[in-house]
Amino acid sequence: MKRLLALTLLLLSFLAARPAAAAPPQSYFYPFVNPYEATVMELPKEFEVRLPDEVPVHEFVVRPFPKREIPEVFWYENGLVCSLVAQDHKAPLVFLIAGSGSRFDVPRMLKLQKVLYQAGFHVISLTSPTHMDFVVNAASGLPGIATDDAKDLYRVMDLAYQKVRKRVDVSHFMLAGYSLGGFDAAFVAKLDDQEHRFNFRRVLLINPPVCLYDSVSALDRLLVENVPGGMDNFDNWFRGVFSQTMHLAEAWEPGGLSGESMYRTYKRMQPSESNLAALIGLTARMNAADMIFTADVMNGGGYIVPKNVRLTSTTSLTRYAIVAYKTSFVDYFEQWLFPHYQKMEPGLTREALLRRETLRSLEGYLKGSRKFGLIHNEDDIILVSGDIEYLERVFDDRAWIFPSGGHMGNMFNPDVVSAITGFLKGKEE
């Protein structure tokens, strides 16, 4: 309770010192002022919106490439799982896209699903195209280029809706996503304007990057620059963090293998900012490594896995894991993705490929269409300088920008939740 009080005082002084931001209501209250803490910590329950304990979730599987043979090394993969929560009456359906490296059922997705269900929507939750389940079951090639990932996502959405259409009475469609999922949503919407399968009435981008390359570089720098002594010293650093964490954790949860619960354990200590930053960077690096290795296996190898080698369920992957965790998304882009695209499209320049990885390439489209909305934070750590001003300019009165919250730390704050549901429910313009 004392800590709460201290936080409150800290925050009040913080809010008073700042000019009020344009969109969020004056009452916006958020307890973490440090963007790294905000990103990592879960909101204390008192500050969170109330959600139902249970919602009627129906999980189902889609197979965009039914004839695809899944390599034996991924013996646990068998189709892409999606989930639906349906209202018992006619309602709009929201497709919800997870952030980078996340499955349709990570805690954040489950909570967002509840938020949207509570607001009266049907929801179909989708795994990120960067998660290994998606790469194995639903990617048509190497993942990582937004315009092509959007095509894969669109295919999955189409199949998912076909699969559940008898269970839901849909009035019209909407699209939303957070982080990389928000970024994906913009590209999917663009595609839908050509294909017209859904005609999304509203598209909400929650904490998206502006330029993917900039954001992943920034995230990777968090790791590389915050491990004392550099990456050669990673082992020592991690062992230190591990035993510090163990010391405070009453019982280590084996669920702590995932980034989210690693943080949850970690927050019990008074973590240094650089350790928090490094852990955020590490999570991003691990997500990228998982995707890159999986994509390499699915596309015949050559990058991390040798060509003409078939990995089985008993093959040791340790050496590949070590290499993969030493590979950042930027390495993958420069050494593998760009040459690969160049081979398919002779004459393609690096700049032209990078243009497919930024919202700036959609600027005119995003500006011109009233269906887009944006929720973001001024202190989001995945943005680089100038990004927030740019987004404010592009989305204008359809942007809700909060003064603090880090990268999605404030997502379930009541004001943020009202911004999300308010925009999606908003009247026709």
Binding site: M132, F242, S243, E253, L257, G302, K307, S313, T315, K326
Partner: protein
Amino acid sequence: MKKIADHMPCSLSRGKGTGGGGRFLVPLLLLVLLSACSSMPKVTGPVEPPLRRYEDLVKPGQPNMLDVNDSVEGFNRGSYRFNYYFDEYLYRPVVRGYEFIMPNYLEDRVSDALDNLGEITNLTNNLMQFNLKGAGVTVSRFVINSTIGIGGLWDQAKKMGLKRQTEDFGLTLGHYGTGSGTYLMLPVLGASNVRDTAGLVADAATVDYIGPLAWLNDNTATYAYAGVYAVDRRHRTPFRYRQTGSPFEYELIRTLYTMKRDYDIEQTKEKK
């Protein structure tokens, strides 16, 4: 013979190694030794080295957490796969049934009662490590919980500030400098290594011969104890397969298990 499915698919949270009849583990170890599962990939054509090669990225002699002594990796990975299916299609469905039938409050009573019966190995191992304070606390806990806590159904000692002094024979061996030996993924029982498997056998024998099973001395009761123990164990283990979303889940579990056990052994040394 007592077959106790002490399932710890990733027994990072393992408290103790009770359960698991010794006679069950011996053939298992033989199986490990006889196992012919190869951990080498199958070659389907002329092998081209990848662009990012291990040799180029890893300096010789540089330690890596993912490198864990795993000389029966082929077997271990097969066993891991078996455990995945076992958990998915048998173990967790049973546990879900238990959770559906039992109110949460009663589930906690079962957990507390089993913990109380399991104090025997905490006692023997604290004694063997000459951690007399730990042994004393364990005895006090057992007395308090068995009486005031009515047969161990309530952990009253904890409320009095007597924390459970969890120890097992694997930790005792480690305490006296026994190396971990190769990593082992035990069928049904989960992540372990040679040292901890030996510990598991020893603790199981303790439970058999001087612990609760010896007091019961009745086959039906023993089976009931074993069954409830197995279900409670899984009920309390939050681990779910594929939760990492990583193709390297096997490696991650192996590293974290090893680090956790190393940490626990260090703790036994600091306690003295």
